[in-house]
Symmetry: C2
Subunit: 135 residues, 2 copies
């Protein structure tokens, strides 16, 4: 088929995770009720929340998809639906690398974590899509 092939209109510097506009980190705890977590997602207009243990370290991730899972399977505790094996991002990684990680793992957001497993923020497919959108 006669496809029109134009160069992509992108000429921005390669971004690092730390250059992504960061929002305040909102967290949740493993013992939180699903209903409370749902409210937190909705009130903050977000899709992802890092789950943090009592020492402040990353213990999992919960997304609105997990809330749908809780509804579908009738679960009420966050512990029952959160994902424990979290795929993370580091501040000194490039956004290209994170885009590939998102694709490879079929996920939509990663907690940004420092060397002590403390959560610094979130990076999402929306954040990356925004780099294409804003130019």
């Amino acid at each position: 088929q006669g496809q029109i092939v134009k160069p992509l209109n992108i000429s921005k510097p390669s971004k690092m995770v730390r250059d992504i506009e960061s929002k305040p980190v909102i967290i949740t705890h493993p013992t939180d009720p699903v209903k409370e977590v749902a409210l937190k997602l909705v009130e903050n207009n977000i899709n992802h929340l890092p789950v943090v243990d009592s020492r402040g370290k990353l213990a999992g991730i919960v997304t609105s998809w997990d809330i749908a899972d809780a509804v579908a399977r009738g679960k009420t505790k966050l512990e029952e639906v959160m994902t424990r094996k979290v795929i993370i991002a580091r501040e000194d990684e490039s956004v290209d690398i994170i885009a590939r990680r998102i694709d490879k793992n079929n996920i939509s957001g990663l907690p940004i974590v420092d060397k002590d497993s403390k959560v610094k923020g979130m990076i999402t497919a929306e954040d990356i899509s925004r780099l294409i959108g804003k130019k």
Copy 2:
């Protein structure tokens, strides 16, 4: 600050919406129970579902975020939580334009709709992020 500025490692042709690898369209109806919609999202491992009326035309959109909203507010009917004013994509639009639309409206996916309001597919921030990831 002494930021390192490298050219973005992207040199792909400008993609159109119709070039995005399309998955089979899964739909839902306004009268579906929230629990059933949640199950559909989870079983298909997706976050967005177009809501289609009895004539097969786009009537709204529901995302896992709306399921979280249903949980938070105790709603059980899709009609109560779906979004009726849908921001859409056309097959002949460029992916750059869609990326900007996603950003501007703080959403993560758009139904791809033809001239008769028939749903042809979905395009999401993940699909666009994938274009950066795969190169």
